[in-house]
């Protein structure tokens, strides 16, 4: 494994961690939107506030980490991505700003009116942001970035749309599973049952999207399709199994286990994409090796990644444990 491969692996690990941690946060947007009027929706919104409060900023940092690793390790592909996918990136940026500020403001909103407005901003932007992130992934994975495709909007290709829908569905699925477990633990059986049904439905929908979504990939993203059916196949199978297991655990009300299998299902499909497009950093255009920055920087980045693992991991474990116990005490 070359240094460039190692940096790409670290970066992709960060993408995966972002997908599962921030994905669950983004996904709450849909359930917040659908929670109903102020009174009816209050328990759901309280649950979301409590679940996201301590962790969403830390979960969000993975994205910054990915962006920074991309420009540090792969400066030229990074510039190409930012030039060709500027529009979806702006939508993501807009969504992130609205989501974060909407969430922070809602909690301390002085009046119900203000809280509702902040809540709609938070929930709406949470719902749409993953779509644009998915279109970015789709554009890169389908071999449209850096390859001089001119007669189409590259982030609205079939693969991009699939990426967007899959990302949105995945986030809603993760959020539903996480929230079910949390509602159950806080003792709100009614809310937990409502969420369990939502988790069940989104699990099925997400699975269907993932399954039938691969059909247009064959023509629209042939390199990715080949990769997914060869190098990425074990991950895709793992994701399928974990997804089915999640349905099973949800049915049996084994909610903590369902949470774990849901994370595996999502992590595996993201990793499947990564393995599927290896050795390309920009599919059909630039390989990881060719796009990598200076070797001295790659080595230094690996040192920094080691440092991050040592410093950040224990702190992050502490945060998650604290968030878990704090919810228990309520």
């Amino acid at each position: 494994m070359s240094a460039a491969d190692a940096v790409a692996a670290v970066m992709f690990a960060a993408v995966t961690l972002y997908a599962v941690s921030a994905g669950a946060d983004f996904g709450t947007g849909l359930w917040d939107l659908l929670a109903g009027g102020p009174k009816k929706g209050a328990p759901m919104r309280r649950l979301i506030d409590k679940a996201l409060g301590p962790v969403w900023e830390a979960n969000h940092v993975w994205l910054i980490f990915v962006i920074v690793l991309l420009w540090s390790g792969f400066p030229r592909p990074f510039a190409t991505i930012m030039r060709e996918l500027a529009i979806p990136f702006w939508f993501v940026g807009l969504g992130i700003v609205l989501r974060g500020s909407g969430f922070a403001f809602r909690k301390f909103a002085p009046t119900l009116q203000a809280a509702r407005l902040a809540g709609i901003v938070f929930a709406g932007s949470s719902f749409v942001t993953p779509f644009f992130l998915g279109t970015i992934a789709g554009a890169i994975a389908s071999g449209r970035v850096g390859t001089g495709v001119e007669d189409e909007v590259i982030w609205l290709s079939p693969t991009s749309i699939l990426g967007g829908i899959l990302a949105t569905a995945t986030c809603a699925f993760l959020a539903a599973v996480f929230l079910t477990e949390e509602a159950d633990r806080s003792g709100d059986v009614e809310l937990a049952e409502e969420l369990r049904l939502k988790a069940f439905i989104t699990a099925a929908v997400t699975g269907m999207v993932a399954l039938f979504g691969t059909v247009p990939l064959r023509d629209d993203a042939p390199t990715l399709f080949d990769g997914l059916t060869s190098r990425g196949a074990p991950e895709i199978i793992l994701s399928t199994v974990a997804g089915l297991a999640t349905l099973h655990f949800l049915r049996r009300r084994q909610l903590r286990t369902a949470r774990i299998s849901a994370v595996i299902a999502v992590a595996a499909i993201v990793l499947g994409w990564g393995f599927g497009q290896y050795p390309w950093i920009l599919v059909d255009s630039v390989t990881i090796e060719d796009g990598a920055g200076h070797p001295a920087t790659l080595t230094a980045l690996l040192v920094a990644a080691g440092l991050a693992a040592v410093i950040v991991t224990p702190a992050l474990v502490m945060l998650y444990r604290l968030a878990d116990t704090s919810r228990l005490s309520h």
């Binding site: 910054i64 920074v68 700003v97 809280a115 950040v312 702190a315």
Partner: protein, 458 residues
């Protein structure tokens, strides 16, 4: 260049303005992220030792920090995007030179975000003696994050850690790029500025409350604790600034020439306050009656030679007036604040906190927050506009780094609207929090919280 061309194709003007807006907005929030944990630590420690007022104040400030940190985190993300979206020409060439600094900053920010999450949500769940310790990693990561970000900015002023051979960037040494020769002073300058902005802003807010008659112990602490931080940082700042200026004289003499409004290289250069640079000289300013003062400040000798703008062709000169005005505003405010805290320190050692009874003193305090923010912003304008037309000093021109995207006017307008909304809403939320505290609320429950559910209809 036709107006039409300017609107559609030339992204340089809107891109620079958008960067200025994004940085100018984010840096205010960053100051609180960097400096609030230290002030919180003092309060929380007092609280852990039995001071219930201090503990209550720490609790309130942690909630304020939570809100400010949230909008700081998202506006920081916009900046990360903009590095590539607005300046792809910079990042594709030098992304791997400065990338390590950004990565280490990312780790610092990660640590801060994690511990902030733990700190803000641990009230009533951890004993105060343990709880306060969560602030220590935040204090350290605030300092290290500032260092790495300032390292990138100082690298743009003093680029190092690479060679250019036949137009190719080779021999990259990311550690050398981090520890460039400008980093130390720039870092100290910004770290002190962060503490000044956060401390003076808190002093201002609590002085307003004090003047409105809320003369309780909470407000007394709210003024005095940050005032101690400000009183330590503010007098050091001009000294650091002076040495940073001397370093500019060597490294970026044209930036200094713009600061002085000096058209041609000469010796015994005086300092002229105010006035307007008309393209050949400063007109209408007031000359400080110490001959050669600028020479002395720049080179430690009253008859030393100072480089003038004429040393480089006009297209390599920054816009003089913006740089000059900004610099003079920064120095003026900084000097005023240094005098103020020196006087306060004198009063404190003579008569303890009797200055809190002096209405004029309190009125002066209410202005310090906005003043310190203006000083910091004008400082940034001085160094950033003063580096123009270069984005990497002497190596890469800003116009060669900018995107060729045709959307920059739209994103500039869009971001302006979004940030205006975000800051207005943030201000409104913080104001309402303070009103609710003043009215005796402590928990600030959300409108759909269990304790307020009876207020809801439908």
């Amino acid at each position: 260049m036709t107006p039409d061309h300017l609107l559609i194709a030339d992204a340089l003007l809107p891109a620079r303005n958008q960067m200025a807006l994004s940085l100018g907005a984010h840096i205010i929030l960053a100051c609180f992220g960097v400096a609030m944990p230290a002030m919180l630590f003092v309060l929380h420690r007092m609280g852990a030792n039995g001071d219930t007022d201090a503990l209550e104040l720490a609790k309130r400030w942690s909630k304020i920090s939570g809100v400010l940190f949230a909008i700081g985190a998202v506006s920081g993300t916009i900046l990360a995007f903009e590095m590539g979206l607005l300046w792809p020409g910079l990042m594709e060439q030098y992304g791997d030179v400065v990338g390590l600094a950004f990565t280490l900053e990312g780790i610092s920010f990660f640590v801060e975000a994690i511990f902030l999450g733990m700190y803000v949500y641990s009230w009533g769940r951890l004993p105060a003696k343990t709880h306060q310790l969560l602030l220590l990693p935040m204090i350290i990561s605030g300092m290290s994050g500032t260092f790495f970000i300032m390292s990138v900015n100082s690298w743009m002023n003093a680029p190092t850690g690479f060679d250019i051979v036949n137009g190719q960037i080779v021999n990259v040494d990311p550690w050398a790029a981090i520890f460039n020769e400008a980093v130390f002073l720039q870092y100290l300058h910004m770290l002190l500025a962060a503490y000044m902005v956060a401390a003076f802003t808190m002093v201002s807010v609590y002085s307003v409350g004090w003047l409105r008659g809320r003369r309780d112990r909470l407000h007394r602490l709210g003024i005095l604790v940050p005032l101690v931080f400000a009183a330590i940082a503010t007098p050091i700042q001009p000294i650091v600034g002076h040495f940073a200026g001397q370093a500019i004289a060597d490294r970026q003499p044209i930036k200094l020439a713009a600061i002085e409004g000096l058209p041609v290289t000469e010796s015994e250069v005086p300092i002229i306050l105010g006035g307007y640079y008309d393209g050949s000289e400063v007109v209408g300013g007031i000359e400080v009656p110490i001959p050669g003062l600028a020479s002395f400040l720049a080179q430690n000798s009253f008859d030393a030679e100072v480089i003038g703008l004429n040393e480089v062709p006009e297209e390599d000169q920054p816009p003089v007036n913006v740089v000059r005005f900004s610099f003079q505003i920064m120095v003026g405010i900084g000097s005023g604040l240094a005098l103020l805290v020196t006087y306060v320190a004198y009063r404190w050692f003579r008569h303890r906190d009797s200055f809190l009874d002096n209405v004029w003193m309190l009125r002066a305090f209410t202005l310090t927050g906005v003043a310190s923010i203006i000083a910091m912003e004008t400082g940034w304008i001085t160094t950033e506009v003063g580096r123009q037309p270069w984005v990497v000093h002497g190596i890469l021109r800003t116009e060669d780094a900018v995107t060729d995207g045709n959307w920059v006017w739209f994103t500039l307008i869009g971001l302006t609207i979004v940030y205006l909304g975000m800051f207005a809403a943030g201000f409104g939320v913080l104001r309402s929090m303070s009103k609710r505290w003043a009215a005796g609320e402590t928990d600030l429950e959300s409108p759909y919280g269990p304790g307020r559910i009876h207020e809801l209809v439908s």
